[in-house]
């Protein structure tokens, strides 16, 4: 197989970091080459260099054996390189056809020729087995479909080399399967794919070859048949990591959270949580499994006082807290790790120090009367940074500049460093690398063993299965079943997640 894309000795320096240090990488025709590494390992930097978004400080890029120089994505596109970015580069208020043609519009006279484009989009997408409606507005499409629009957009530009930057981070398990099918289909047609990820299971499932990056350098190259998941994890993180969660059997005690017949409407006024009842006991983890968008978000928002409850009751430690203020719920001993850490968990432009006292700043020892004792907040911050291993230049660094894993550690540090009875953790490891996941899972188990009741909401089935003592499956706003974790299998929960409660008679 011939080499279609080759990067040799790429160096890219950002202020304070050497993001790519003498990185070499090559892609063969028709293969899926996985680029694996933790957040901040330099994968995205390398791909942005290959796509013409960053100018490298050193090194050479060859396409089909010819050295090329790139100054903008336009050059990359001309050389047949297409990229699907982690955060989609689609304009929500444009139609699918408009998004796809943008930058290489078909025109008749002066006017855009939308008919021709729509026809070609229809053809191209049908050909790939993922029919798209060219006249649909992107903001009406699900994330999975938006990703297909991105893929078609690249192929519409005649891309023969496709860079997929963490494409599975936003997808449901089913959508991931579909994506893999599409990827194989593409490689069969001669398209070569660079697949960036930090999810180990996926790597072994789809890769033809694997290159691992750490700290801006390539630390290894291999193939799926030569390496195990655990070895890959060690290579990626640079130390021994445990992929399984060690935990003792749960010792549930008194009921801490009791939800009965809860009803919550979403912001469009439709029923999102429908007659949900559940209990969580001290010292156990109740996991809620389900495909994204089945009411988990609204359930958590209602439990934490962020959404209005329109029916039913929530009792926390015996007290009614339906429609109570978030502060009251917090003061009763509930901790919350929110689903969207940047939107609901942190004030990004504030320093780490401030973010660590967001829910306690008004209480002694941080406040007395009208005065906030920032020296005590700083002391507190330095302790937490040490204790929770938050990698930050200082307590005064803005949280927004930290990596996702460290942002999450700031939230965990804030929520877990006060006496709590209930921990509500929603998607606690979304988008995090192996090292951070291991750490956060460890913290959750530790709280459970100390007698905290834990409600874990996750769309990662593996995570729910690993951590939970009991598993509830949510589907279309209802809890379909609650099963002890020991009896749950990936298959049985997966069926429930799809809304199938009973096996069809044979």
């Amino acid at each position: 197989m011939s080499i279609v894309l080759e990067a040799h000795g790429i160096r890219k320096q950002f202020p304070g970091v050497l993001a790519n240090d003498d990185v070499s990488f090559d892609l063969k025709k028709g293969e899926i080459h996985v680029l694996l590494g933790e957040n901040g390992a330099g994968k995205s930097t390398l791909m942005n260099v290959l796509y013409g978004l960053y100018k490298p400080d050193g090194g050479e890029i060859r396409v089909n054996g010819q050295a090329i120089s790139m100054s903008s994505p336009r050059d990359a596109i001309e050389h047949g390189i297409g990229m699907v970015h982690q955060h989609f580069m689609l304009i929500p208020v444009f139609t699918v056809a408009e998004n796809i043609m943008l930058g290489m519009e078909s025109v008749r006279g002066l006017a855009l020729d939308e008919k021709v484009v729509a026809e070609r989009v229809r053809e191209l997408s049908r050909d790939l087995g993922m029919e798209l409606d060219p006249n649909a507005y992107v903001h009406d499409l699900s994330v999975g479909v938006q990703q297909r629009v991105e893929i078609v957009k690249a192929l519409y530009r005649k891309a023969e080399i496709l860079i997929l930057d963490e494409p599975t981070a936003v997808l449901t398990p089913q959508e991931v399967e579909d994506l893999f099918k599409i990827m194989h289909d593409l490689t069969n047609r001669g398209v070569s794919i660079v697949f960036i990820t930090h999810k180990l299971k996926e790597v072994l499932e789809v890769a033809d070859r694997i290159t691992v990056m750490r700290g801006g350098k390539v630390v290894g190259s291999t193939t799926p048949s030569e390496i195990s998941e655990a070895e890959l994890a060690n290579l990626m993180v640079g130390r021994e990591v445990s992929l399984t969660v060690d935990k003792a059997a749960a010792q549930p005690k008194e009921t801490v959270l009791e939800v009965s017949n809860l009803r919550v409407l979403d912001n469009l006024g439709t029923v999102a949580v429908d007659d949900v009842s559940l209990t969580v006991q001290a010292g156990e983890i109740l996991g809620i499994a389900g495909v994204q968008g089945n009411g988990q978000t609204e359930l958590v928002r209602a439990l934490t006082g962020l959404a209005r409850v329109s029916g039913g009751s929530i009792r926390l430690d015996g007290q009614e807290v339906a429609n109570a203020s978030p502060r009251r719920i917090t003061e009763l001993g509930s901790a919350h790790i929110p689903e969207d850490r940047q939107k609901d968990g942190l004030v990004l432009p504030f320093p780490v120090m401030d973010n660590l006292v967001l829910n306690t700043y008004y209480l002694p020892p941080f406040s007395q009367g009208l005065v906030v004792h920032w020296d005590r907040a700083l002391e507190n911050a330095n302790q937490r940074i040490e204790q929770f291993d938050i990698r930050t230049p200082s307590a005064m660094t803005h949280v927004g500049t930290l990596s996702g894993g460290n942002q999450q550690k700031v939230i965990v540090a804030r929520e877990l460093s006060r006496p709590i009875k209930l921990l509500i953790a929603s998607q606690p490891t979304r988008g995090l690398d192996v090292g951070s996941i291991e750490y956060i899972h460890g913290q959750i188990i530790k709280r459970r063993d100390e007698g905290v009741a834990v409600l874990l909401v996750s769309t990662e089935l593996d995570e729910v299965l690993q951590l939970s003592d009991r598993i509830a499956v949510m589907y279309r706003g209802k809890i379909l079943a609650v099963v002890p974790a020991a009896e749950a299998t990936k298959e049985s929960i997966g069926l429930l997640m799809a809304g199938i409660t009973e096996k069809k008679p044979a």
Partner: protein, 356 residues
């Protein structure tokens, strides 16, 4: 622009007209009055329409332009100066002088657009502050030069306000103007006609052409545009310059089409009302035009009512006071901006400088 908004606009205009016609019919036949109201509405709406189009181009590309007022005022002054200079110093015939004045106004507007683009796109100055700088600059420059050129003894005009070349003549739109009675509406001055043509052109450019698609793309999601090789800075520069030129043409309306003179501060907040029209029109050319017509109708209402002061029935006595009717256009502006008839949505990246 949705239907509801359109009906709302039509209802306000009809209401304002009805009041005037009810009161004025004692003196003038309703049909003649209606024609006069329509003609005034279109004429008064002209600078607002052009100002709003200026805003539409800038903001669709992601640059807030609060300096339209200053661009109008500066262009009004220099356009006027250009026309007077040619006419009195070089003895160029009036019409040619006036057309040259319009050209000067457009160029000055474009240059101020370039300044605004440089401040907000290249220097990434806060765009509201950039626009305010232009407004303050406009007041200072026009006030100072007006005094120096027209009121100083040793200026080129010898301290005399020069004899004006007049205003642009009316042009008749063929065929339409021949319709009995109503035909008079189609006898308008050139900038008023140009404004309407430009609404249609702008709508086509923004929503049907490659340029428009790219402009809207950099106003919604500049990074997305960048990743497919569209030059965000270039698109923003050109659209702000086009916006400046439209504001310049609006400026020419004041001194070359409406009255043959320049007064300090004569734009009198029209640039800001244009922005209100742009927002109410949901950043679309036709919407902005419709909103501008509401303000035009409110002005026509005010002008006519003052004319019929003597015949206002006693139970409507409050309409006799000029300050009551004079408030109508501004009260309407405020009511409209409170969003009583639904929210409008600005381009997503409006006002945000793009960092590569």
């Amino acid at each position: 622009m949705n239907k509801r908004r359109f009906y709302f606009i039509a209802a306000i205009i009809i209401l304002l007209y009805l009041i005037v016609i009810l009161i004025g019919s004692a003196q003038i036949s309703p049909l003649v009055l209606l024609v006069s109201l329509l003609a005034t509405t279109i004429s008064v709406a002209t600078p607002l329409t052009l100002g709003a189009l200026s805003g539409v181009f800038c903001e669709r590309a992601g640059v807030v332009n609060i300096g339209i007022e200053g661009m109008m005022l500066t262009s009004a002054f220099f356009g006027w100066f250009g026309a007077v200079f040619l006419n009195t110093i070089w003895s160029v015939p009036p019409l040619a002088s006036l057309l040259f004045g319009v050209l000067v106004a457009i160029i000055i507007g474009g240059l101020l657009g370039l300044l605004h683009a440089w401040l907000s796109v290249s220097l990434k100055v806060d765009q509201v502050i950039g626009g305010t700088v232009i407004n303050i600059l406009a007041i200072g420059i026009t006030g100072f030069l007006n005094r120096q050129l027209f009121f100083e003894k040793n200026s080129i005009f010898g301290g005399q306000i020069p004899h004006a070349p007049g205003v642009l003549p009316r042009i008749s739109i063929p065929f339409l103007v021949d319709i009995p009675v109503v035909g008079k509406v189609f006898e308008q001055q050139p900038i008023a006609v140009a404004a309407i043509v430009l609404v249609i052109v702008a709508n086509f450019v923004l929503f049907r052409t490659r340029w428009g698609l790219r402009t809207r793309a950099v106003g919604e999601h500049p990074r997305a545009a960048d990743t497919i090789g569209i030059n965000v800075y270039k698109m923003r520069y050109w659209n702000v310059i086009i916006g400046g030129m439209l504001a310049g043409l609006a400026g020419a309306y004041f001194t070359i089409e409406s009255v043959p003179s320049f007064e300090p501060l004569m734009t009198n907040g029209r640039g800001f009302i244009s922005l209100a029209a742009m927002i109410f029109g949901n950043w679309t050319p036709f919407g902005a035009w419709a909103a501008a017509l509401v303000f035009g109708a409110a002005q026509a209402f005010q002008i006519n009512l003052q004319q019929f002061r003597a015949v206002i029935p006693p139970e409507w006595a409050f309409l006799q006071y000029s300050y009551v009717v004079g408030m109508v256009p501004y009260i309407l502006t405020m009511v409209i901006l409170t969003g009583v008839i639904g929210k409008t949505v600005a381009p997503a990246a409006d006002g945000t400088p793009y960092e590569k």
